[in-house]
């Protein structure tokens, strides 16, 4: 049990760091994906907007869903949400806490993608090149072209090699303008996200710290309980199998040696395994136990153990003895006036 305790403590204290690590890796993956992606603006009037905005908005959505998929706790959240109430009430605050912490982590990679895309400028240049303000940027004299022609010429701004509207509006001027707008949007977006993150983080201790401590405790509890239940079931299955096989071989040896009176040994091993079975010794009972675990989880209330001596806990208040020797140090404030 010590080994399990160490492992669980490691996971518990490091679960946050583990999830933060996954977050960071996804953020890096998203920048890498962007730089490896070969952006090809179509340079056609209506396709530009669709392509540009698609590249800006679709990958973040995919990264957001991926953030949920890669998070182990999503199945735990779903389980806790859908289980029948049974003897244990459901606390919506705990569900909200679990969902919020998963959503916050899943948001990081999409935000990184959108910021990098805006700060780079290619997407916005591609999407909005047909909407540049001709009055500000255009050269004074331009031939009288129809609106459609002008749109077609402007749409080729991102593709320098085929741009033929230099007398209409200089390519560098338009590209610089669009880059400037894109970068301004990018920095404003990053600023907005940072301010929101800062507010969320700093307003919480001011308003709902007690509720937060509760939700965090019970969400960790649900996670640990699920892991421990799986471990206990695995141990049980092992013992079950051991005893089953032991009984099979004993049965075989009884059949083969019906006329010999060999002393039957009950090895210590089998006794120990049998104890670990916790009284559940057949398939029907095990199935009933598993079904009951899902349908009707036990209440969050531990009964005192049925000790033969009379001094068990009162069940209320502190246990009669200190768990550890009292320390002799005294801590007090001094103030030097």
């Amino acid at each position: 049990m010590d080994k399990f305790r160490m492992i669980f403590q490691f996971f518990q204290s490091n679960q946050e760091s583990f999830m933060n690590g996954i977050c960071g890796i996804m953020a890096l993956a998203s920048t890498q994906m962007y730089s490896a992606f070969d952006f090809n603006c179509p340079c056609l009037p209506h396709y530009n907007l669709a392509y540009g905005l698609g590249i800006l908005l679709v990958p973040p959505f995919i990264l957001f869903l991926l953030g949920f998929v890669l998070n182990n706790n999503i199945s735990m959240l779903a389980e806790e949400w859908r289980r029948p109430q049974g003897q244990r009430g459901k606390d919506p605050a705990v569900l909200r806490y679990m969902f919020c912490s998963m959503a916050q982590r899943a948001m990081i990679a999409p935000v990184v993608w959108v910021s990098v895309t805006l700060l780079d400028g290619k997407c916005i240049t591609c999407a909005f090149c047909t909407s540049v303000p001709m009055e500000i940027l255009g050269n004074g004299s331009h031939p009288h072209l129809s609106q459609g022609e002008i749109q077609r010429v402007l749409a080729r701004i991102p593709c320098k090699e085929i741009y033929n509207g230099q007398e209409l509006i200089a390519n560098e001027v338009a590209v610089r303008y669009l880059h400037c707008i894109s970068q301004a949007l990018g920095w404003c977006f990053v600023l907005l996200m940072t301010v929101m993150a800062f507010l969320v983080r700093s307003l919480r201790p001011c308003f709902s710290q007690a509720a937060f401590l509760k939700s965090r405790y019970w969400s960790h509890y649900i996670d640990i309980e699920r892991k421990l239940f799986d471990e206990t079931c695995a141990e049980h299955a092992r013992s079950f199998a051991k005893v089953c096989i032991q009984q099979f071989f004993e049965g075989m040896s009884t059949d083969l040696h019906t006329h010999c009176h060999l002393p039957r040994k009950a090895p210590a091993d089998a006794r120990e395994a049998a104890e670990k079975l916790l009284g559940i010794t057949d398939q029907g009972t095990m199935n009933m136990a598993l079904k009951s675990w899902h349908r009707c989880k036990p209440p969050l209330k531990l009964h005192p153990p049925a000790l033969p001596t009379g001094n068990g806990w009162a069940g209320e208040g502190q246990p009669p003895m200190h768990p550890c020797a009292p320390r002799r140090e005294t801590a007090a404030y001094y103030s030097c006036v």
Partner: protein
């Protein structure tokens, strides 16, 4: 218990180092962000100033807020500030100490960004090229006012057709870069002198109060970590007991008496001690609420 003590000593000694590490990483990240950022001045009369000053001041605000968010101590300080008084008095000197140390660390990355920006010069050239006096530069002296604004605005764009070989453009650019670098170096010098004086003169003022504030701010930090660790330990034991009791109650339902009760004895008693009598949901909730609303006094005699 020894293992826990070692771990907590590590945390105590290196909680400052962890924060200094984060500070350094943010400063490096700020330099890297600047070098990888593709600065493209719009070279238009009204847009230059907004773009240049925006690039100089908006990222430092973002970096400052990031420095506050990533610092664990800022949460600890806020909790200590907002908690109800209960049985433990609040010491404002401790909160002030924590606040100032958090702010100092959070200021490093923004200052690095501003200094790097000024030493590089592109931002100031972009922002203030339109505000130059054209009389001082030969190429712009005899041009009409409307056109001179347009020309000056294009100074940051070296590759523009009008500006490609214009010597006056180079003159304006050099002039602004010189001012920018002078400003950058001056700011750096002033900040370093201020930091030096603050560190050197500190022992002359209020050293005793400073030592107390530092001790109690470390204490609050460690107490928080230990509380979280204890909660984790408690929830693990709670879950263990809960699962075992569940299996026992199953056994009672099926009425098989071949096997004796498992795990009676020392193991169960030791774990019972560690549960400290807190064995149901309401008690846990009450414990957590009391921890927040009424922290125990600092007296373990």
């Amino acid at each position: 218990m020894d293992r826990f003590r070692m771990i907590f000593q590590y945390f105590q000694s290196s909680s400052e180092s962890v924060m200094n590490g984060i500070c350094g990483l943010l400063a490096l990240a700020s330099v890297k962000m600047y070098t990888s950022f593709d600065f493209s001045c719009p070279c238009l009369p009204q847009y230059n100033m907004a773009y240049g000053l925006g690039i100089m001041f908006v990222p430092p605000v973002i970096l400052f807020l990031c420095g506050l968010i990533l610092n664990r101590q800022s949460l600890v300080m806020l909790e200590e500030w907002r908690r109800p008084q209960g049985r433990r008095k609040k010491d404002l000197a401790v909160i002030r100490y924590m606040c100032s140390s958090i702010m100092q660390r959070a200021m490093v990355a923004p200052v690095v960004w501003i200094v790097v920006t000024l030493l590089d010069g592109k931002c100031l050239i972009c922002a203030f090229s339109s505000s130059m006096d054209p009389e001082n530069f030969v190429g712009f002296a005899n041009v009409s006012p409307v056109q001179v604004q347009q020309l000056l605005a294009k100074v940051p764009c070296k590759d523009d057709e009008l500006m490609k070989n214009n010597t006056s453009r180079k003159a304006v650019s050099r002039y602004l870069r010189c001012w920018s670098q002078a400003l950058g170096w001056s700011i750096l010098l002033i900040l370093i002198i201020a930091a030096f004086l603050a560190r050197w003169l500190r022992p002359f003022f209020n050293q005793a109060i400073l030592l107390q504030a530092r001790h109690w701010s470390n204490y609050i930090d460690i107490e928080q970590k230990i509380f979280e660790e204890t909660c984790c330990e408690h929830s693990r034991l709670f879950a263990h007991k809960c699962v075992l009791h569940f299996f026992e109650s199953m056994k009672q339902e099926i009425k098989l008496h071949s096997f004796s009760l498992p795990r009676e004895g020392e193991g169960a008693e030791r774990e019972g001690d560690l549960l400290r009598g807190i064995t149901d949901q309401n008690k846990v909730n009450k414990l957590l609420k009391t921890w927040y609303c009424e922290k125990p006094p600092l007296d373990v005699s």
